[in-house]
């Protein structure tokens, strides 16, 4: 089952059930979201074993903090994926050399197409994805690559600069401007 089949309302109910200690709800929540979160974790951590450890941390954290989840804290998926990304980034920063060394993803895009393999497959999934694709397409190629490497791969500014072979200051500005225009575009 994908996330879209359940919808955010379903996730919210499951989180409420988790908050009251319903372990069957945790299992259902896991079934509905684990593949997406594991994809996010693996993309950042690269190494399968680290991503598996992180996945465990993430669902333990979701279970323990489910009572603190409120709709005011954002959509359920946003809340969950934020927990996952922060955990992955913490692990990546603390084990920097190993994770970098193992990173096999090596696309340094040169043409004007959507170079990120994940981005090129999202169109047509749902309205949000379509909107995201439109917004991404409005960025310059450099901004797009810098944003993807920072947000999706969890790279630091220095690492993005190394990967794109560009000066650090320039990369910082690509990331900043790319994110600002993405935010503006998605909000519209």
């Amino acid at each position: 089952m994908t996330l879209d089949d359940t919808g955010q309302a379903g996730l919210e109910q499951l989180l409420h059930a988790c908050a009251s200690g319903d372990s069957a709800a945790l299992k259902q929540l896991y079934r509905n979201t684990a593949a997406q979160l594991f994809g996010v974790l693996r993309r950042i951590l690269v190494r399968d074993d680290l991503a598996q450890d992180a996945l465990q941390d993430v669902y333990v954290s979701i279970w323990r903090n489910a009572k603190d989840y409120r709709a005011s804290r954002g959509a359920p998926f946003t809340w969950m994926v934020s927990i996952a990304r922060y955990r992955a980034i913490d692990i990546k920063r603390s084990r920097r050399r190993e994770v970098q060394y193992a990173d096999p993803i090596d696309y340094v895009p040169e043409s004007d197409e959507l170079a990120d393999p994940d981005l090129s497959s999202i169109a047509g999934r749902d309205a949000d994805a379509k909107r995201l694709k439109e917004c991404i397409e409005q960025l310059t190629v450099q901004q797009r690559n810098a944003v993807c490497l920072a947000y999706m791969n969890g790279l630091t500014h220095e690492e993005v600069a190394g990967r794109l072979d560009a000066p650090l200051g320039t990369v910082k500005s690509w990331v900043r401007r790319g994110l600002e225009s993405l935010k503006g575009c998605i909000q519209r």
Partner: protein
């Protein structure tokens, strides 16, 4: 540094969410978040607006046993026995003895003395100074921690008690106070692990205990667990 100036705050929130804010600056902003509603709102807005990018990442099925590991970490399922290795007879023997002790102890305590004796005890020392006396009561399913020499935790931290296991992740026995006494419940799943535990550990965690279910802060002390 002042964080409540609109633009600066939004820039920090953006870098925090993306992950490019790192090291001490990241930790500092994390602390600002726990006290500033404005900062939290800025972070939530960025999380919301960038989440579609995370949804664009291709899903990957985790390995089939991943959920079992989560259940084990949460104490919903007893830890799998660690596979016996060539040198593994001693832990197995110790577990066997612990089981005998437990059955015997159960018979003994079946007489319901007014005050149950602790089945397992440990004294946690800081160098040569005893800090905590830890007593596990099997019959009433309780872990009692008494402070021998008070050691208050820093205001933003808590001490957490762990059972160390050979070949598996530590299992939490809950948060313990640095002064006075703490009573924590002992679940069936925790008891199953306790019976095979030879060493307890105390780590320093964020206030309220580890957010992940595993030690995240420094392990301050370890202590052998003894049958009383």
């Amino acid at each position: 540094m002042r964080y409540d100036k609109g633009q600066l705050l939004d820039a920090l929130a953006r870098e925090y969410v993306v992950g490019t804010l790192k090291g001490r600056a990241r930790a500092r902003f994390g602390r600002v978040l726990s006290s500033s509603l404005v900062a939290r709102r800025a972070v939530l807005a960025w999380e919301r607006d960038l989440a579609p990018l995370a949804r664009a990442v291709k899903p990957v099925e985790p390995p089939p046993d991943a959920f079992e590991r989560i259940e084990t970490a949460l104490g919903m399922r007893a830890a799998r026995p660690t596979p016996t290795r060539a040198v593994g007879i001693w832990p197995a023997l110790a577990a066997g003895l612990a089981l005998v002790a437990l059955i015997f102890g159960g018979l003994y305590f079946g007489q319901r003395p007014t005050a149950e004796q602790a089945t397992y005890v440990a004294v946690v020392n800081d160098a040569s100074t005893p800090v905590w006396l830890i007593q596990a009561y099997v019959e009433t399913r309780a872990i009692k921690t008494s402070t021998i020499n008070p050691r208050p935790a820093p205001p933003t931290n808590s001490y957490e008690l762990w059972m160390l296991q050979d070949g598996a992740n530590p299992v939490s026995l809950g948060v313990i106070a640095g002064t006075g006494a703490t009573d924590n419940p002992l679940s069936d799943a925790q008891l199953a692990v306790l019976m095979q535990t030879m060493t307890l550990a105390v780590s320093l965690e964020p206030a309220g205990g580890s957010p992940t279910g595993l030690p995240t802060g420094p392990v301050l002390f370890t202590a052998p667990l003894l049958r009383s």
